[in-house]
Amino acid sequence: MTALGLAVPSSEPYPWPYDEAAVADRTALVVVAAQEGLVPRCAAAPATLGIIAELTAAARAWGATVVATRHAASPAQRRPGLLPRAGTAGWNLVAGIEPDCVVDAFGVDGFTGSPLAEHLAGLDVDHLLLCGLGLEGPVHSTMRSANDRGLECLLVVDACASLDPSVADAAVRMIEMSGGIFGAVAPSSEVRRALTLTGPLSPPLEV
């Protein structure tokens, strides 16, 4: 096995990624909904944001693109919900989150009302590391949609803050059902270790 691609052999329920190793220029760290308005809704947000910052630094040093999704209530949504309206204070990214680019979404799902799919395709990215605020909300919706689009997803579990700790464990189990129905799951310690062990270059072409 090549040492040049990213692999997290201890991830559950299978060693991520399915295709043995992810290369940096086709991998993005997606920081989902790290916004002021989500902080009061997630009790663990302050600690989680520290983990996200460390993960962001490691992913960037390795060579992955860091994308932040910024979620606003959809103009179609008439019932008041989880998300801040665009342009309000709650809609802003939390200070210290420093992505390479910000993608605006209009929904709980980062793919709804947003150019996220096109943006990732334009970058040639097909492997995602996911973290953010709202494990059961924005993070889960975004992971589900990414997976339906064929993107290979790894949830960095302690880099996600729960909206409802009574269902956080189940939210992780749901991902791991049926052999990894939405992808795989690993803790940030394992992901960061893999990122620092791995060179940023693509593996040599097999001729």
């Binding site: 959809s74 949504q77 929904g107 589900r144 949609s145 909206l163 189940a170 749901m174 059902m177 052999g179």
Partner: protein, 230 residues
């Protein structure tokens, strides 16, 4: 107009009532592959009783919905026989656990359109005139005509049944809520491959004041329609 439904965490719908013609019943993936012997879920070794539990109440709601003139939409997950619409990672994961998509099984090729396992089970089968949405993924809005169909028919409210609660039902309800549809999930008309995940999936709809809509027993919905619950 029908009056509101006793639901959690709020009385559904948020706008006070619903018009049958603008309220669609969305039946998610009641296919042999997910609740029939020899199908995909059976091949993975899960207990079919859990995914079949909602069939009887769903059949009652289906009859009532048809009687009051609600549009009914059925969805099916399945891939083209050539498998060109199956992502490589989805195929790899299924083969790794011994239930490969496209592989032959007792109900034909697993999760492939046109096979016996792909059919909707007879208890809740579509009738002439009802829309059937074929989808390659978990969400019924991605890569399908569902949103176009609903908007063209003026549908604004959705009532969900189907399987599995935590996977295809939840993904589709999340997509629908983001698109502005007012959603209700009937808790006894759905099931998951793990009971704890079923309960957690219901809670995830209700958390934070109803992130994705509301949840009610079918008896409450039937009572609002003026139909007996049993």
């Amino acid at each position: 107009m029908f009056g509101p439904v006793e639901a959690e965490p709020y009385v559904w719908p948020f706008d006070g009532g619903f018009d049958a013609a603008r309220t669609a019943m969305i039946n998610i993936d009641w296919q042999v592959d997910f609740c029939g012997p020899g199908g995909y879920v059976d091949a993975m070794g899960y207990d079919l009783k859990l995914t079949r539990a909602g069939l009887e109440p769903t059949a009652r709601v289906l009859a009532a919905a048809r009687a009051v003139g609600m549009p009914v939409v059925h969805t099916r997950e399945g891939h083209l026989p050539s498998m060109v619409d199956c992502p490589a990672n989805k195929l790899w994961r299924s083969k790794r656990i011994g239930a490969g998509i496209g592989d032959p099984g007792p109900c034909g090729r697993i999760l492939v359109r046109g096979e016996v396992g792909w059919d909707i089970v007879p208890e809740v089968a579509p009738i002439d005139g009802e829309v059937i949405i074929d989808k390659p993924g978990k969400g019924a809005f991605y890569a399908t005509e569902l949103d176009l169909v609903l908007r063209s028919q003026g549908v604004t409210h959705l009532v969900f049944t189907g399987i599995t609660t935590d996977v295809c039902v939840h993904t589709t309800m999340r997509e629908a809520n983001d698109r502005g549809y007012e959603c209700l999930l009937l808790e006894d008309c759905t099931g998951a491959t793990e009971y704890g995940n079923y309960l957690a999936a219901l809670q995830m709809v209700k958390m934070q004041g109803g992130v994705f809509g509301a949840v009610a027993p079918s008896s409450a919905f039937l009572a609002t329609l003026g139909k007996p619950g049993k």
